[in-house]
C-alpha cells in the first residue's frame, strides 16, 4: 500500500490549440490546482493525434494519456473532432481488447471557457490512473535502461 500512495503517475494530455489549450491556460490564470504531473502537448486540432502518438506516449513512460479538444460542433476546423471521436473510440476499444486498462486513456471536450472543467478533469483522471498504478502493459522496458 505504501508504494501505491507514493506513486505519482505521468500523464500526457494532448490539447487542441483552439479550445482545450486555452482552457488549460484559463485554469492556470484562475489558479485552479491540478497535478503537476500532467504534461500538456499542444496540437493544432484533436484530430492531429494519431494512434501512434498515444502508444508512443505510453512507450516513453506515460501512465495515462488524455486527449482534449473542442466540443463537438465547435471545432475550429469544423469537423476535426468528429473524426477524433470515431478514431479514439476504435483505438480505445482495441486497447481494451488487448487487455490494457481502460482508465488509462480518455477523451474529454474542454472549451476555452472551461478552465474549471479542465482542472476537474485532470484531477479526476490523475486519481483514476493513480489507482491503477504504473503502466506495465504498454511500457517499453528499454526506455528505462
Amino acid at each position: 500500500m505504501q508504494d501505491v500512495k507514493e506513486f505519482k503517475p505521468v500523464i500526457v494530455a494532448f490539447c487542441c490549440n483552439w479550445c482545450s489549450y486555452a482552457g488549460a491556460d484559463l485554469a492556470g490564470s484562475n489558479r485552479l490546482a491540478y497535478p503537476a504531473d500532467v504534461k500538456i502537448i499542444r496540437v493544432p486540432c484533436s484530430c492531429r493525434v494519431n494512434p501512434m502518438f498515444i502508444l508512443r506516449a505510453f512507450q516513453r513512460g506515460a501512465d495515462g494519456v488524455i486527449l482534449c479538444g473542442c466540443h463537438p460542433g465547435d471545432c475550429h476546423y469544423s469537423t476535426g473532432n468528429y473524426y477524433t471521436r470515431r478514431r479514439m473510440s476504435m483505438l480505445f476499444s482495441m486497447l481494451d481488447f488487448l487487455g490494457i486498462e481502460r482508465d488509462r486513456t480518455r477523451v474529454e471536450w474542454v472549451s476555452a471557457a472551461e478552465g474549471a472543467k479542465f482542472a476537474a478533469t485532470m484531477n479526476e483522471f490523475v486519481e483514476k490512473v493513480t489507482a491503477l498504478g504504473p503502466n506495465k502493459r504498454l511500457e517499453d522496458l528499454r526506455c528505462k535502461q
Binding site: R60, G61, R142, C143, K144, Q145
Partner: protein, 341 residues
Amino acid sequence: MLKCTLSNIDKLFEIVSASMPLYLPTEDKNGAVFKKWQPGTVWSNASNTVKGPKDLFFPQSEDLMAFKTEGKKIEVIDTRTETEDFAVFGVRACDVKSLEILDRVFLTEPRDSYYASRREHGVIISLACNRPTENCFCGTFGIDAAEPMGDVSAWLTDDALYLHANTERGQAFTKLIADLTEACDDSAVSAQKEKNRKVMKRLPLADLEANAFGGSKTEQFFHSPQWEKLSESCLGCGTCTFVCPTCQCYDIRDFKTNNGVVRYRCWDSCMYSEFTKMAHGNNRNSQKERFRQRFMHKLVYFPENNDGIFSCVGCGRCLAKCPISMNIVKVMKALEVDTDD
C-alpha cells in the same frame, strides 16, 4: 556408443538441467520450437523446429553496449553478461552444419565476441532424422542426416536413445549422464542409420544437385533472365531469412532510452527495402535485385569466399514457410534449366 532407454529420457533432461540450462524442441502453437527445459516440459521429436537453434547463439535482437550522457560527459557501458554453459538437445544434422557456416562468418577475424562466447559455452547434442519431411534436401549439400555430428551425436530407435561423444565437450556431457547410460555396441545404431538412409533416398528432393553452382559462377547466373520470373511475386517479407538457420545478416541500431542510448543489433533481411542502406541511398532498388542477392549469396558468393561451402543446408524451412511458396529449390531448378541451354 552409449545407450539410454527411452523411459529414462525425462530423467536425462532433469539431470542435465540440474547443472546447466537445457534447450530442446517442444511443441508450441506454431510447431516445434527450442525452449528451456523445465519440469513438465515435453520433448518433441518433430522432424524439425520452426526456427533453428540459431537464436541461442545469435539472438534476433541483442544489446551490444549502452551510453549514458550527463552534460558533456558520455559514459560507455558494457552490457554483456557472463555467458553460462548451456546444452542444446535434438539438433538435426542440417542445423549442426548451419552452425559451422555461422562460425565461418562470426569466428574469422575480426571475431564476433558475442557469438563466440555463446558458442564456447554451448554443447550441441544432435539427433539423427528418422522421419524427414518432403521439404528436406540436406543431401544436396553433402549432409548425412543419419550422421548428425555436433558435440554428441544421438540416434533414436523405438525404445532407446544412443549417444556418441565427438568432442571433449561432448565427453563431459556424456559423463554427466553416465548413471543413465550403459555402453553398448554399434549394431542398433548401424541398423537405424541404414533405415534412415533408405528414407533419405526416397525423398522427393533427393535428386536435387548443387553441382551447377559454386564460387566463380557469378557471371553465369547474375544476368540470368530467370530472376525476373522467379522474383515477380516475391512479397519482400523477411520470412525466409528469419527462419533460415544460416542467414546471418544483421543491422546495428541505436535505441534512445529515457536516459541515454542502447546500441543493439538485430537480424536484418536482404529482402527488405532498407537493407544495407548507405549515405548515397540503396544499392539494390528492386525486389528482383534483393531476391537475387539472397540466392546468389547462398549459392555463389558464399562458396566463393568459403572453400566452396554453400550457405544453405537444405533444412526446408523456407519451403514450408514462404507465404507464396517461392524458395531455393525452385530457384536452383530454374537456374539449372538455364545452364542446360
